[in-house]
């Protein structure tokens, strides 16, 4: 894979699209720190990622995983799930932690009553809200979402899209997300990266990609989206 270069401004959304095996997931995992690049450097706010401590990195970049029912620990309550990142990465005292948890919960649209619940007591949408709250609790600069929409029902998908858009407006956070549904990508993103075989074949603003796709891979992706059988 690579060499690849791209940039993302604050408060903007970057979508990474491409066929499976094109290296989308590896790319976001490298940004999140789950994989280490063999060469090259990722800069965040002008600082190289490798110079940051683990804690600074956690505070800056957060990741949401595909299935919240498996990414949330079923044995601990929501309150502890949300307190853990604060206790590990900040020096807040107990009251401040509680305050931060309550603020984040209201940001994602959950009531504080849910703090005593276990994840499996919540509906799928609420589980997603908790996963999002866990990502937002450290007020990160970037949130990475790896194919969180793929498994969702259409109405649930829209609810989460709405929630992400509201949060972005309120907190001016940047999103990086990997997705298949090109219509959704068009709606949510400001910038799109098209990948093929580990390389970025196209990197442009959403409007430019949709109005004048340059590479054949991009064209194919756009065509496959809503094929018309009735011709």
């Amino acid at each position: 894979m690579g060499p690849n270069s791209f940039s993302l401004a604050q408060g903007k959304t970057l979508a990474i699209v491409g066929q499976s095996g094109s290296g989308k997931s590896s790319l976001v995992q490298m940004i999140a720190g789950l994989k280490t690049p063999t060469s090259g450097e990722i800069y965040i706010k002008g600082k190289p990622l490798s110079s940051l401590t683990q804690q600074e990195r956690c505070r800056s970049i957060r990741m949401i995983f595909q299935d919240p029912s498996s990414s949330l620990n079923p044995k601990i309550r929501i309150g502890r799930i949300l307190a853990a990142p604060l206790a590990l990465n900040t020096s807040l005292n107990e009251q401040e932690i509680e305050q931060q948890i309550k603020e984040t919960l209201s940001l994602v649209g959950l009531l504080p009553d849910y703090l005593d619940f276990y994840p499996n007591m919540l509906s799928p949408l609420q589980q997603h809200q908790v996963a999002l709250a866990r990502a937002m609790i450290l007020n990160p600069d970037i949130i990475i979402a790896d194919q969180i929409f793929a498994m969702l029902d259409i109405s649930l998908r829209f609810k989460i899209v709405n929630l992400l858009l509201t949060i972005q407006q309120k907190k001016n956070v940047s999103f990086i997300f990997v997705a298949h549904n090109m219509n959704l990508v068009r709606h949510m993103s400001d910038r799109i990266i098209v990948m093929h075989n580990g390389l970025i074949v196209e990197d442009n603003t959403t409007e430019a990609i949709y109005n004048a796709p340059q590479s054949t891979f991009t064209k194919r992706l756009l065509q496959s989206d809503q094929p018309d059988y009735r011709k």
Binding site: Q19, P124, R186, L221
Partner: protein
């Protein structure tokens, strides 16, 4: 002509909390040679209906239907042995996650061979005498694979399911489903968990099967956008109740149920004025779990048009083949409810 005619199919499942009516009086008429889309979100009971049609339900289910005819055979009157014979020959099914439905310990060749129609003893005897197996198994399998668009049949046949991609596995599943030339194929979310390009290939293949071989397909999906322009008829189901069914044109041009209207908005067409990053339209609330189903119209608590009468289950009303179950549908001026056709 109706190939499959189901009237008032209900499924009750015995649970620890008592009997739950998961499917509530669903009627489905599938016309021969068409693609019928059955759209509903997960948990709405699409797969349960498919299983009830095949007769592969578990012992704690009670399936009742006023009428369940496959052409002229009454499925409700058949014994499970007779149902088993229909399965695979008259009706065959394609599942989601094909890799999990193929046997991981057997090569594709063996698996396809198993589903091929067995020759009669007489035929086998004649073949031996003539010493010419004119229409050998290999040839038939090869032909099947070519039908579903697998070109490198030799490598695919010699592989195990885990060595193949999800898309190829689904094609193999489709090949196995059409091996006996069934009259009806039930495709249960055949494209979930596939990427866009493969999804399109599989749907196009199903469409071609329908066009070239006149196979009737019941296509189950949770994504209205991906199958709507493929289907000739569409039924929409919410929490085990059919809310609306009709031809493609009727549903797309004149949706009458608030749930259908919401579903059509989810297709996200960018021809209309859609503001970038604006909030998308969704119904309030979320799908109730099966043990907390509301009485009456199950959309009631989420419906923008709900009134007090909605606690009574609405009866299906037929507007020239466009059947709808709602107390307050969107009506056109030129549409009169043909109330005599209530069923």
């Amino acid at each position: 002509m109706a190939l499959l005619d189901i009237r008032n199919l209900s499924i009750d499942i015995a649970t620890a909390q008592g009997k739950v009516r998961v499917i509530d009086k669903v009627s489905l008429t599938i016309v021969e040679g068409t693609i019928h889309g059955l759209v509903g979100e997960s948990g709405s009971g699409k797969s349960l209906i498919a299983k009830a049609i095949l007769g592969v339900h578990k012992s704690n289910w009670t399936v009742t239907a006023d009428r369940m005819f496959l052409d002229s055979t009454d499925l409700t009157k058949l014994s499970s042995d007779e149902r088993r014979k229909i399965m695979g020959k008259e009706i065959s099914m394609i599942f989601q996650y094909p890799r999990s439905y193929l046997d991981p310990s057997k090569k594709i060749f063996t698996q396809i061979k198993e589903v091929l129609p067995t020759d009669t003893l007489k035929q086998r005897f004649m073949d031996k005498i003539k010493r010419t197996s004119t229409y050998s198994t290999e040839l038939r399998i090869k032909e099947l694979l070519h039908k579903v668009g697998i070109q490198n049949d030799k490598t695919v046949l010699a592989s195990y399911p885990h060595e193949l991609s999800e898309g190829i596995c689904q094609k193999v599943m489709i090949a196995m489903a059409i091996a006996n030339n069934p009259r009806l194929i039930i495709a249960d979310e055949p494209t979930t968990s596939m990427e866009a390009v493969t999804q399109e290939q599989i749907l196009r293949l199903l469409y071609k099967l329908n066009q070239l071989h006149n196979t009737t397909i019941l296509l189950l999906s949770n994504n209205f956008g991906s199958i709507s322009n493929l289907s000739d008829y569409i039924s929409i189901i919410y929490c085990g109740q059919t809310v609306e069914s009709g031809s493609y044109k009727q549903i797309m041009k004149h949706p009458m149920h608030p749930y259908t209207e919401a579903m059509i908005k989810t297709t996200l067409n960018f021809d209309e004025s859609h503001n970038h990053k604006s909030q998308l339209y969704t119904l309030p609330g979320s799908i109730p779990s099966t043990n907390k189903l509301p009485i009456g119209c199950r959309l009631g608590p989420r419906c923008p048009r709900a009134q007090s009468t909605c606690v009574i289950t609405p009866q299906p009303v037929n507007y020239k083949g466009h059947v709808i179950r709602c107390h307050f549908p969107t009506l056109d001026d030129n549409k009169d409810a043909n109330t005599s056709q209530r069923n």
